[in-house]
């Protein structure tokens, strides 16, 4: 098994945190005991057990790590102890590899609902010009009103959100071009 992996560090899952973003090349091969693992050419022997779904117990040179996997519609994270890392995993041989999309600042951008909720009101009309960071839609969840903002300067091409309607995470609220 060969993977290309990009890991972004985050300080304890808290606010902020720096990103390294270097891609790693990982080769994994079953050994007599455990796995032979070649990370960026460096060989380590590891012992891995899945005690339950989304939890991995890893032994590397006697060091023990419990890693938790967090998968959402949009992200893949690894928690090593209480430090969280955003991970992108590509299988070079597979077409179904995970794609990092949206890094392109040009072209139409979809504004997605980040959480389930109810659309309270629209802050702009279709075809109006907006600045980056300008509020587009207000979504209410858990007794809080949350302004969903435009990620870029542009024109609101289309608004799919309807006041009063329920939305699910990942639903497209509007498109800014």
């Amino acid at each position: 098994m060969v993977y290309e992996i990009v890991v972004s560090g985050e300080a304890g899952g808290g606010a902020g945190g720096e990103t390294s973003g270097k891609p790693h090349r990982l080769e994994l091969e079953k050994a007599a005991e455990g796995w032979e693992c070649r990370l960026d050419g460096q060989v380590v022997h590891i012992d891995a057990v899945l005690p339950r779904r989304d939890v991995l117990s890893l032994l590397v040179d006697g060091h023990a790590y419990e890693i938790k996997r967090e998968q959402t519609a949009t992200d893949l994270h690894m928690w090593v102890g209480s430090t969280r890392f955003a991970v992108e995993l590509r299988d070079p041989r597979s077409l179904r590899s995970r794609q990092k999309a949206g890094s392109d600042e040009k072209g139409p951008k979809k504004i997605l609902a980040p959480m389930p909720g109810r659309v309270v009101r629209l802050l702009v009309a279709e075809n109006s010009e907006v600045e980056a960071g300008q509020g587009i839609v207000v979504v209410e969840a858990m007794k809080m009103q949350n302004e969903i903002k435009s990620p870029k300067k542009g024109v609101v091409k289309k608004i799919m959100a309807t006041p009063g309607a329920a939305v699910n995470p990942g639903d497209v609220l509007a498109i800014v071009e």
Partner: protein, 510 residues
């Protein structure tokens, strides 16, 4: 003792009350809204009845439906928990009219304490210390200016019917006062239907410390020690502890005695909490009384060894308090973390949804009061409190380390929680030194996350990053599941920008 009671609430507090009832041999009846059929309180109770759609106004706030369930099920009493109808004097009155015991104070006490100005007048008679200011609404801007002159700037304007920061204005100079008063009055009118605004001396960097009291229906009232509740965000408490790092036995006794006077002046019965503002010289001033069980009652339970819900039930059933003030022993230190469904990386946006993985802490000194479980879909309709994690230690240091350990064991996936925030607080130097005030948390959040500048830390980060890389590969080998394919609707919406972060303003509605 009651044979059966109704719990007019949901979430962790409903589960906590169900547990107390089971421990006392009392059958429980709960009510639930359409989105709460699979909620933990419905799973754990003896009886459960649907009372309407998700919005609280159509279910958990519907007095008529709740009283109807009480009658149908034969419940002798209603525990309101906190929030919802717990401080609604009309509901307490409706219970009395229906012949169902309301587990809490009388409607009279609730009404008295519900208005800040009427409470203040009553309490001043009882010699309770107040922040200097008016005990009634300002008749005019001139009166405001005169009072402010007398007590000294800065001053605070406050809505009499208020709460949650609405109708509040901090005024530093005479020039600002008139317009601040007008805007506070109109905000108070909009928010509470009552424009009454009063004026107080502004306390700089106050602490918020509260005192628990219990009063039976035979005239006995005791205090059970204070809770330090200064760590707040948007006027929401986030972490509470008992005892307060700055309260010594003498101050505790003085606060306790004032709290008992407050309760007695209001003919208060059952469990209640007197909130105080404490200034930098440790002067304490009456702020308000919460006429219900508090979210943070467990820290008092751990330091006193008492069970407040058991005692609420016994008091409501007409029993006398089973101990005297001199029997109350405060020992050790307890800290509570409120685990909210909100995203610390995203301006604390609420984060309802399905809990896909849940690993929960246990072991020495750890109490967990939870309303969630793995597989549960956290609804978007109610406040985001999922669970409370409470740590007890021989001393404050041990309680802090215990919680830090337990938070390390806690893992919730599928939704975001504020667990990482508590790790930051518990490791913060000011917190460890007990240097707290109500501005503490905003200051902490304004700071960048711990830098990690040292070489040791960097090499550690690199090591963990490599472990994360290996782990993601091992997961792919051992437990393949296409990332992003879980949530159908998002998958269909096309590629999703993973680093796009909405920075919206969130408004507290309560």
């Amino acid at each position: 003792m009651f044979k059966k009671i109704l719990i007019a609430n949901r979430g962790e507090i409903a589960v906590r009350i169900i547990r107390a009832c089971r421990e006392m041999g009392i059958a429980t009846v709960v009510v639930y809204s359409d989105v709460d059929r699979a909620a933990l309180h419905v799973r754990k109770s003896d009886e459960a009845y649907p009372i309407g759609p998700a919005p609280a106004a159509e279910s958990y706030l519907r007095m008529d439906k709740i009283l109807d369930v009480a009658k149908r099920s034969g419940a002798e009493a209603i525990h309101p928990g906190y929030g919802f109808l717990s401080e609604n004097a009309k509901f307490a009155q409706a219970c009395a009219d229906a012949g169902v015991k309301f587990i809490g104070p009388s409607p009279h006490s609730m009404n008295l304490m519900g208005s800040k100005t009427s409470a203040r007048r009553e309490m001043e008679k009882a010699g309770v210390p107040f922040v200097p200011g008016t005990s009634r609404g300002l008749a005019s801007a001139e009166e405001g200016e005169q009072v402010a002159e007398r007590i000294g700037y800065p001053v605070m304007l406050k809505a009499a019917a208020g709460g949650g920061g609405k109708g509040m204005r901090l005024v530093h100079t005479r020039q600002e006062l008139r317009s601040a008063l007008e805007s506070a009055q109109s905000e108070a009118q909009r928010s509470f239907g009552d424009s009454e605004v009063y004026i107080e001396k502004a306390i700089v960097n106050p602490r918020h410390i509260e005192m628990q009291v219990l009063a039976d229906e035979h005239g006995n009232t005791v205090w059970l020690g204070e809770r330090e509740c200064s760590i707040q965000r948007r006027h929401q408490k986030v972490l509470e502890e008992a005892p307060s790092p700055i309260v010594d036995p003498d101050m505790r006794r003085r606060m306790g005695e004032v709290a008992v006077r407050v309760a007695q002046a209001a003919s208060y019965t059952n469990a209640g909490t007197i909130e105080f503002l404490v200034d930098e010289q440790k002067n304490f001033y009456f702020l308000e009384m919460n006429t219900r069980l508090q979210v943070e009652h467990p820290v008092t339970e751990l330091t006193t060894g008492l069970d407040l819900v058991h005692l609420q039930l016994r008091i409501a059933a007409g029993e006398k308090l089973p101990f005297a003030q001199s029997d109350v022993q405060i020992r050790g230190h307890a800290i509570e973390c409120r685990i909210y469904a909100e995203d610390p990386d995203n301006n604390y946006f609420p984060s309802p949804g399905k809990i896909t993985v849940l690993l929960q802490p246990a072991g020495p000194g750890i109490r967990r009061d939870s309303g969630m479980y793995e597989g549960w879909n956290v609804p978007m309709d109610y406040d985001p409190l999922l669970a409370k994690l409470i740590g007890y230690g021989t001393d404050r240091q041990q309680a802090i380390m215990r919680l830090d350990r337990a938070l390390y064991e806690y893992f919730v996936a599928g939704i975001k929680t504020n667990i990482s925030l508590f790790r930051r607080i518990l490791r913060d130097d000011d917190f460890r030194a007990g240097k707290l005030d109500t501005g503490y948390l905003d200051r902490l959040l304004a700071k960048a996350a711990p830098a990690g500048a040292s070489a040791a830390r960097d090499s550690q980060s690199t090591k963990l990053e490599r472990i994360a890389a290996i782990a993601s590969g091992m997961f792919a080998v051992l437990e393949p599941s296409a990332p992003g394919s879980k949530n159908g609707s998002a998958g269909e919406a096309g590629p999703v920008p993973s680093n796009w972060k909405q920075k919206g303003r969130a408004e507290a509605l309560r």
